[in-house]
């Protein structure tokens, strides 16, 4: 249950309410919202207490969010939250484009791609150093060396970087190399020990939807991060597994407008992993932005046929230029704007 208190409620009153709920044996979480105090109460609340809370003068609205979601629930914020990734602000009325190679394939390669990403007008550089591959015989990524090369490419081009973390044991390497945003991949969305570990890292997290996860399960994974102390969480829809075989996965844009009602977290879409086919990524990106996504994440490679992973879904640099231009148009016609280039 979420209690939205009246704007201007004295801190003393908020504390008194907070303590009185704790005396009832309930766990109380406070929103970081500055404009008004908002308290979330975890657990089962007796009806009599619920009724008495609703009658309190400082309680303006009592909201029952979906299930036990609290910290990520829409009612915990006055406005949708904005997540800073380096100098890029994700959410809040602008649209961002995240782009880069699926895998970091070498220092020169990732730098060349980063320059193309920057020149195209995209905002965040992505690149995998630890790769969760279906087959153990496929390229597994360059590991820590890949993180170093990605970060160097980001610094050389002024782009913040995002990379996937698969194992909590690798967290010190991500921190040491100052990776701006930690990505939790689809396969690890419900790896709760990983979520708990990275929640404490003080870094933004891009949480992809599990390939067989319901929206509720996805949001609970985000709640794990928030409950663990992570205050900068972004969600990324990347396609779910269905009976359809024409595409790698099925891009579930249906949930985007609903997610806006359920959570304050920024919503991104990765059409590349959903489609698995490069030529259909531009229309899916346009559709994602039209459906309200705060940005799209795509893969780019100069010679996709030679990519060490996911070549069939990589855009050519010229196609990325076109995608950013189209994203600008879609952002404008949906009442938003493309984010300015990173400083």
């Amino acid at each position: 249950m979420i209690l939205q208190l009246a704007i201007g409620t004295a801190e003393e009153k908020v504390r008194e309410l907070h303590e009185s709920l704790e005396r009832e044996g309930l766990r109380v979480l406070r929103s970081r919202e500055r404009s008004r105090p908002i308290l979330a109460v975890a657990g089962t609340i007796p009806k009599a207490l619920k009724d008495s809370l609703a009658r309190r003068t400082e309680v303006e609205t009592v909201v029952q969010p979906m299930g036990e979601l609290l910290l990520v629930a829409r009612a915990m914020r006055e406005r949708p939250s904005v997540v800073d990734v380096g100098s890029v602000r994700v959410g809040g009325g602008t649209v961002v484009v995240i782009a880069g190679p699926c895998s970091v394939e070498g220092r020169d390669h990732v730098l060349a791609v980063a320059r193309q990403v920057r020149a195209a007008g995209a905002h965040i550089l992505r690149g995998g150093a630890f790769k969760p591959r279906t087959s153990p015989y496929q390229f597994q990524g360059f590991g820590v060396e890949g993180l170093r090369q990605l970060k160097d490419a980001g610094e050389a081009t002024g782009l913040p970087v995002v990379s996937e973390i698969m194992d909590a044991a690798d967290l010190p390497a991500f921190v040491e190399h100052d990776i701006d945003c930690l990505q939790v991949g689809a396969r690890n969305m419900q790896n709760f020990s990983l979520l708990k570990a990275i929640a404490r890292a003080g870094r933004p997290v891009l949480l992809k939807r599990g390939l067989a996860a319901t929206v509720e399960e996805w949001l609970y994974a985000a709640e794990y991060l928030a409950e663990g102390g992570c205050v900068r969480i972004m969600l990324c829809e990347r396609g779910i597994r269905t009976y359809e075989k024409a595409t790698r996965n099925t891009l579930d844009l249906t949930v985007l407008p609903l997610m806006r009602e359920w959570t304050h977290l920024p919503l991104l879409v990765d059409p590349a992993h959903a489609a698995g086919i490069a030529r259909i990524i531009p229309p899916l990106s346009r559709a994602a932005i039209a459906a309200g996504a705060d940005g799209v994440a795509v893969e780019v490679h100069e010679t996709p046929a030679e990519a060490r992973s996911d070549g069939p879904q990589a855009l050519l640099p010229a196609e990325l230029v076109a995608l950013v231009a189209e994203s600008r148009v879609m952002a404008a016609v949906t009442g938003r704007a493309l984010h300015a280039p990173p400083r």
Binding site: R328, V333, G335, L338, P341
Partner: protein, 77 residues
Amino acid sequence: MNPALRHQLRHLDGAILALLDERARLLVQTSAADPLRAAPVDDLLRRHTGPFPADGVTEVFAAIDRHCAAFRAEDAR
């Protein structure tokens, strides 16, 4: 006027205005050293297949260029 038609026109005008704003933002983000190059109107006219008169296209884009240049100069000061 038919309310649905009025609604559609208002929506289209809003989209046109949003696109003009986005164009102005993009020009401001461009390095001051870059010359202001508007998209050639000839190229637009070659691709133009709709009913909006060609003279009007030229006129509208000349006005857009003029206002964007003035806005950009003002922003640079």
